[in-house]
């Protein structure tokens, strides 16, 4: 059984239909990538999984339980955490405080401090900047902070919304290496990307979205080799 399965999901913003009947699934341990042009509905799907938006129809089943009616904090508590598009770190809070926020629902102090250790090991720059206002970090550092914050809740499934957005190529490679490492440590990953080539090359499976619908699906390699995908997302 899939870890997360999205069935016939439809989401509206008022009268605008952003997602119309999308279905896909994620198995434990996978990296699954959703790709699609601007406005395809990717962010809307993630926000709905995380409980920030409520669908008009369809279901989201996580570990055998329907979660589409639950509120965001409840969903984090069950082990799904999100790194939102545009990072959304907390300006005015220090790097350390931002990470502490990520562990908001954790109560075991020993475990929190262990997780801090792991995150600082993975992102040494965050340790160096620990007491600095998070707003003063560079874009790439903010992305790492946003990922670190999401990992602080020890998620079983992490949702990444365009983690490479606006980053220099060298940073992009680093971010993708980190995503791979997150998977290797046992966290399942749902990855949304504009950078389809990179995303598909690390993904086990992928789905191609266009105007609110799934148009194509396959393994990462299959999609990379697909002529339509190449034309639309990989520049020919």
């Amino acid at each position: 059984m899939a870890m997360l399965s999205v069935d016939n999901l439809a989401v509206n913003y008022g009268v605008i239909t952003a997602v119309k009947g999308v279905s896909f699934e994620i198995n434990e341990g996978e990296i699954v990538s959703l790709i699609g042009a601007n406005g395809a509905g990717k962010t809307t799907i993630l926000k709905t999984i995380s409980g920030l938006l409520k669908p008009v129809s369809g279901t989201i089943t996580y570990e055998g339980k329907q979660i589409q009616k639950e509120k965001a904090p409840k969903i984090v508590a069950q082990g799904i955490s999100q790194v939102p598009e545009g990072r959304h770190i907390f300006p005015g809070l220090t790097v350390k405080e931002n990470l502490q926020m990520g562990a908001f629902l954790q109560s075991n102090h020993q475990q929190i401090s262990d997780t801090f250790g792991e995150i600082y090991k993975r992102f040494p720059i965050l340790k160096q900047r620990e007491n600095q206002d998070a707003a003063t970090l560079s874009g790439g550092e903010q992305q790492m902070l946003a990922m670190g914050r999401a990992l602080m809740s020890k998620p079983k499934l992490i949702l990444l919304d365009e983690p490479s957005m606006g980053l220099a190529p060298i940073f992009i490679n680093e971010i993708f290496d980190i995503i791979k490492a997150i998977q290797e440590q046992g966290t399942t990953v749902l990855l949304i990307e504009q950078n389809a080539k990179k995303a598909l090359s690390i993904a086990d499976r992928g789905y191609v979205l266009a105007s609110g619908e799934v148009k194509l699906t396959g393994t990462g390699q299959e999609l990379l080799a697909n002529a339509d995908v190449q034309k639309a997302y990989l520049g020919g």
Binding site: L52, P73, A77, H88, F90, Q100, F104, L105, A135
Partner: protein, 292 residues
Amino acid sequence: MQTLLQQLINGLSLGSIYALLALGYTMVYGIIKLINFAHGDIYMLGAFWGYYVINYWHFNFIFALLSAMLVCAVSGVIIEYLAYRPLRHSPRIAALITAIGVSYFLENGMSYLYGSSTRSFPQIIKQVNYHFGGVQISNIQILILVTACLLMILLQLIIKRTKMGRAMRAVSVDPDAAELVGININRTISFTFALGSSMAGAAGVLIGLYYNSIDPLMGMTPGIKAFVAAVVGGIGSVPGASLGGFLIGLLETGVQAIGLSAYKDAAVYLVLIIILLILPAGIFGKNTKEKV
């Protein structure tokens, strides 16, 4: 020199009360971007609560203060729950008008229940004046200053050091991201109203002791002045609200001291206008730059 020092003492005493009140405005604005016009009336409720428990239940100062803080905290939470929460996703002006409505409701409700006449606040602490080289300071003034400063330090510690304080700051800057880390937004907003209103409750009891008179409309003018203090300090900024409160208190006593008593309120508004013109974000105003 002596008059100057004397005015400094008077101004700081009054200012510390404005500061306590300004904190509530700034915290509520910070978290839900609402100017809570009913905040001054919470301070009035605190003063009335103090009046009753001292007169009828013979509470001492500490218990009167703490119970007023608790009662006001609960009132603030109830007001937010009943009046502002249903309008959370409505245009801001709707909540603003509602806040004015809540303010009228409290003022008129109290006038209806207890009459609109002024009553004298029981003086549980006998006033003693100390003289230092021509400058006079009363034990009440010392008590007000010390209590207000302790409360402000306590509040700052809660905001800076505790989990709920961090949650308040997170919700203020980015409610969606706050939800994504598991923060319950409603609970955090209730907590903010509780904290802000408890400060107003304390201010109500302190002003009762200081000015010795209370009435159902007593919250109007100090409410507006504390709001000005919050704007001067930079609305949303906690240290700004404290500083703004002290500045407004000093300004008001200063204007009185040079014989312009009749203009003391006008001076406060003049400061508001000047600040809005030259420093629209206030002294500690944030210019948050967000990198995209």
